[in-house]
Structures are given as C-alpha cells and as structure tokens.
C-alpha cells in the first residue's frame, strides 16, 4: 500500500495570514506523504490549521512557504488558472453542505466539473449518468437538490467528485449535516470507493467518522501531532522504511 510514488507530498508546508498587524501562522511546517489508495482522516480541534491544510491540499490556496507536490504537480507556485486546472483534474470535493447548484438537476450538477474539463456534451452526459448510477441514484437524474434527501444530495455530490476520475477525493466533514443512519450509508460508500482503489482524504472532527479511515493524521497548532494507521503503527516509521520516492 505504501509502495510506489507518493500521490501527495508536502514539505515544511507553512501558511500565514495577516490579521491586522498580527501574523497568524496557521500552518507551521507540515510534512505529510500520502500514497495512492490510502484512506486518510485529518483530525484536529478548531484552530489547529485543519481547514487551512485542507484548502492547500485541495489546491484552493497556495502555501506561504514550503512545497506541495500533487501527483507530480508542483502546486506551490501556481497561479489561479493553473490551480483551477489541477482542481478540475486531480481533486473531487465533497463538502459538508453538499454545495450543489440549487437550480440544476442532479445530472447537471454532476456534469459541472466535466464542463470545465472541456468534455463534450454527449460524453459528459453519459459519464455523469454512470457516476450517479454508481451511487445508486440512477433513477434521480432529473431531480433538483430540493427534491432529494440529505443523503441523496451528498451522494450526488460524491458522484460529482468521482465523475472526473480524480486522484483524490477530498471530503470536508461529509457527514456533518446528516443523521447517524445516513452518515453510516455515506461512510459505507466511501469505504467502497476506497476498496475500488480510490484515494480518500477526509477532514473531520468526529472520532467515529475518522475510525473508518485507515490512517488518522491529527493536527494541533499548525503541526502534525500524531499520524497513526489503524493498527497503531506510527506512519513515519513506515514511510522511512519505504524506498525513497524517485524523481520528485
């Protein structure tokens, strides 16, 4: 699992914000390596830099200093449009509040990333419909978000994240707005995706949800305070044992 080229590699990642006269150091040197098909939960209390870290991983923002290499792309120095392209190709977002376009149907919502990826209309429709079928919403293609339940909405969002066949699914508190039974459903879906070979990174503050992941990275005060696999072995140990990544 840990063998091969890392999918995500951050080196001494720092992010500072200017709050008036004060500089807030949200991230203070984060080193993290994630390999393909890992299922990682990122935890931490509010103010730990968890959200900032997720924004950087998701290429919504660039670091103040340090390096971030995503699937061979040096993201740190990219401009807005380059970041947009990387987001489109490499990342599938799943948000706590679903973030579907309210006036568009499930199918149109799922097509959206393909639109910006320049995929032709026919192929777009086929792929979007296939993605919706894979989350068992094949019979809800023409429903608008307000005609769907919370769980269904999140599954539309997951289909939207999957449809571009991204390197990573980046989920931010994906069950935060769902009841516990629906949460379980969604978590089962994530596990299935992982089992099918998808790399999943999930930001959460709920230990119950984090438990589903195979690796839990905890941030505290802008640094990684712990990084554990399910069996309790510290990740760094494994990473050090693995062959050095080539060509990066």
């Amino acid at each position: 699992m840990s063998a091969g080229t890392p999918l995500i590699e951050t080196r001494r990642l720092e992010k500072h914000y200017q709050m008036g006269a004060e500089t807030v150091r949200a991230l203070r040197g984060v080193d993290l390596t994630i390999y393909p098909n890992e299922y990682v939960a990122i935890m931490g209390p509010s103010g730990s830099g968890k959200s900032t870290f997720m924004n950087l991983i998701g290429c919504l923002d660039t670091p103040t200093s340090g390096d971030y290499i995503l699937n061979g792309n040096h993201v740190a120095g990219m401009d807005d449009d380059q970041l947009a392209r990387v987001r489109n190709r490499e990342i599938g977002f799943v948000f706590q509040t679903f973030n579907l376009l309210p006036r568009s149907t499930a199918l149109e919502n799922v097509e959206l990333p393909l639109v910006y990826g320049g995929v032709g209309a026919k192929e777009r429709r086929e792929r979007a419909a296939a993605a919706l079928r894979s989350v068992e919403l094949g019979d809800r293609l023409d429903h608008r978000p307000n005609e769907l339940s919370g769980g269904q909405r999140q599954r539309v969002a997951i289909a939207r994240a999957l449809v571009t066949r991204p390197s990573i699914i980046l989920a931010d508190e994906p069950t935060g707005n769902l009841d516990s039974r629906t949460s379980e459903e969604i978590m089962t879906l994530f596990e299935r995706l992982h089992a099918e070979g998808q790399t999943v990174i999930m930001v959460t503050h709920e230990p119950d949800i984090a438990r589903h992941a195979h690796r839990v990275v905890t941030l505290r005060d802008g640094v990684i305070s712990s990084d554990e696999t399910q069996d309790g072995i510290r990740r760094e140990t494994l990473a050090e044992a693995a062959p050095a990544p080539a060509g990066v």
Binding site: D81, N99, L101
Partner: protein
C-alpha cells in the same frame, strides 16, 4: 464548448429572474425605443420629402425662376424691400428665354391664387388653388389626366376659357356626375371643364386635389397675378435628367442677367430654385436631428448601463457560493467572467430587441395619427442591437471581473 456553456448558464440565470431582468434592462429598452422611433420618423420624413414633397412643390428635375424665394426662413426688412423692388417676370421674359435656351427641356409658366369656384345648382368650393398655366405645365409637373384631356398649346395661347380640375373639386361641384363639358365659374368667369387630373394626394395634410388649372392667358390672368396682367409667379424649366439641372440653372441665370442688363458684380434680381437646393433646410434639420439623437439616446443607455451594472453586482453577491462551487470544480477566471458577461449582454440585447419592437410600434402609432410617415431603416435596427449588446458588455465587465476574482475559499463559505 465552454463558451456555449457560459451562454447556456447565463440564459438559465435570466430565466430564473424574468421580472428582475425586465426591470434591469428598462433603460436599454427606453434608449433603443427612442432611437428606433426617431430614426424611423426621420427616415420616413426623408422619403416623404424625396418622393412627395419635391414632386408636388417643384416637380422633378426642374429649375424654377422666381422674382423672390418661395420658401423664406429668414430675411430682414432690407431684404424684403430689395425683393419688392425686383422686376416681375413676364410672359415676354418666358418667350424670350424659351427661344434662347440651349439645354434641352420644356418651359412652363404658372401663377397661383386661392379663390372660390362655383358649380351647377349653386354648389361652391372655397379655397380652391386656382392656377393659370401654359399647356406645358402638365408635362413639367408630370400630371396625368384621369378623365378628359389637358388644354392644348393653341387653347392656352388663345386664352380659351377651358379648365382642368382636381378630384376634390370635381367631387365638391359635381358629386359623382361627369364634370366633362360642364361649366363652372372661377372668379365669376365661366369656364368649361375639359379634364380631371389624377389624384395628387395630400401634402402636410393639405389636399392637392382641390385645384383648377386654366390657361394663364385667359380671363383669370389678372386674378392669379394679383391684378397685374401678363406677369407670372414662376417660370419652370424641366430637363430630362437630374445631371442637366445644374446646367439648365446656369444657363437660365446667364440669360436672365442679359435680359435684365445686370453688370458683372451686380447681384441677381431674380431667384433660381431647384428642389434639391430649396430642401437644403430639410437636410440641415435632418442632420441636426441625427446628430442630437445619439446624445439623447446615450443618456438613456448610460443610465441603463448603470442599472444593469448594479443589478449584476447584486447578482454576483447573491451567487457568491455558486461561483465558489464552480471554481472548486475547476472553473477558471475566464469561465466565470464569460458567464456574467454573457448574462449582462444577453439581458441588454433582449432589452434592445424589446426596444426595437416598441420603437417600431411607436413610430407606426405616430404614422397612424399624423401625416408623418414611418419607415424602419435596417441600419437603425442593426445599430440598436449593437448598442444593446455593447451596453451589456460595458456594464457587465466590472461585476463579471469581481466575480471572476472571488477567492473560492471565501466564496464557498458564504451563505
């Protein structure tokens, strides 16, 4: 592909807020309505003047020799005194000119006054345009006969009491009965009707068919010439082609200067008018209108643009989260920019279309209720559409730019 998508999304957004969209583009609608209506009326007037007015007042391809200008917009007291001192034009002048003109053409004399005409059984018509003319007058004015015939050169020279009347006069005096061969009285002189001219229509609401045309050398002579026998108001020279008009005018001028023994440097004591020149005032008016119009229209459009810009800014802030979602899905700045530019220009373009429709209706309404004609110019429609789209683009640039610059993190967090 992505451009098409931006257009589709823009249309969707407009469809979702139809009423708001309508109010947003009212400025454009008004501006374009005004533009179309005014241009349509100006063009209509222009065609009217070209086709009707010139022919009715002057005749086509003619030079008219007069003692003083027929249309005077200025002229102070001194000018009027000078006009009054000028010698009158006489039959002899006309004969003298006719014998000398080298430019091929036809010469006609005419003088006009308004008066009363009496028909059978005491029927009468007031304010009849009574014209004394030579036989060539019908040819010069391109007047065709509906019934009967025009008077001949011989009849005209002998001053026989025959008359050709207009349709309104025929209707007033004979009420549907055949007027040919009947006697009418003009200024109490008996005249025999020999012809009825074709319908001439109206000019500025005035009938051109309430007329009687008789030989100028007949009994009416003194009346149409205001008491002076053997004088005429107008000597009209008609040429075959419009490129001969200037030549005919120059020739008439030199003959008249010889006739009146004017020394070099002395001013003309007569006027030579052509339809084109006399309608210069109309061309001037039209130019002023066409220049002033853009200013008036642009005020509406600037106000319209400001409104659109404000509504688009509102729309951008309402849809901040949508923009965040799109950006997180990989929309580039250009994609967002294009989407909002399409929205504003489509809105404004639709407003322009609406304005074109209303403008044409307005012009047609003016046409229906006044004698002013309407003629929709193709170029004005093209201009209106371009202006509409232009207003949309200009007013959309800033909001679209703001939208495209939104930070996706901040945008996603917005409610």
């Amino acid at each position: 592909m992505r451009t098409f998508e931006a257009a589709r999304m823009a249309l969707e957004a407009i469809r979702a807020h139809k009423l708001r969209g309508f109010f947003t583009v009212l400025g454009t609608v008004f501006g374009v309505t005004f533009l179309i209506a005014v241009i349509t009326l100006i063009e209509g007037m222009n065609q009217y003047v070209e086709k009707e007015f010139k022919g009715a007042i002057y005749g086509v391809n003619t030079v008219t020799l007069r003692r003083r200008p027929s249309i005077t917009t200025d002229g102070d007291e001194g000018q009027w005194r000078e006009w009054r001192r000028r010698p009158r034009l006489t039959f002899e002048d006309a004969d003298w000119l006719e014998g000398r003109m080298q430019t091929p053409g036809v010469l006609a004399l005419s003088a006009m006054n308004t008066g009363k005409a009496l028909g059978p059984r005491g029927r009468e018509a007031e304010n009849v345009w009574i014209t004394g003319a030579t036989a060539s007058y019908f040819q010069v004015r391109e007047m065709a006969l509906e019934q009967g015939r025009a008077f001949s050169r011989n009849e005209a020279n002998l001053g026989l009491p025959v008359v050709v009347i207009g349709q309104d006069l025929a209707a007033a005096l004979f009420q549907g009965r055949n007027p040919i061969g009947q006697e009418i009285r003009l200024r109490n002189f008996p005249y025999r009707v020999i012809g009825v001219i074709e319908k001439q229509g109206k000019l500025f609401g005035m009938s051109l068919d309430n007329v009687a045309i008789a030989p100028i050398r007949s009994d009416l002579n003194g009346f149409v010439n205001n008491g002076r026998k053997n004088t005429v108001d107008e000597i009209t020279f008609k040429v075959a082609r419009d490129d001969q008009v200037a030549l005919a005018k120059a020739e008439l001028e030199s003959w008249m200067r010889i006739r009146h023994r004017l020394r070099p440097g002395e001013n003309n004591d007569f006027e030579l008018e052509t339809a084109e020149e006399s309608l210069g005032f109309w061309d001037k008016l039209r130019t002023i209108l066409l220049v002033a119009l853009p200013m008036l229209v642009s005020v509406s459009l600037v106000v319209g643009a400001i409104v659109i810009m404000n509504i688009m800014l509102v729309s951008v802030s309402e849809r901040t989260r949508e923009i965040g979602i799109r950006k997180s899905m990989g929309a580039r700045r250009a994609d967002i920019l294009l989407q909002f530019l399409f929205e504003s220009s489509t809105l404004s373009g639709l407003g322009a279309l609406l304005g074109i429709g209303v403008g044409i209706l307005l012009a047609k309404a003016v046409q229906a209720s006044t004698p002013l004609p309407a003629s929709v110019a193709g170029w004005s429609i093209a201009l209106a559409i371009l202006l509409g789209l232009g207003v949309g683009v200009v007013s959309g640039v800033y909001p679209a730019w703001r939208a495209s610059r939104l930070d996706p993190i901040v945008a996603l967090r917005s409610e």
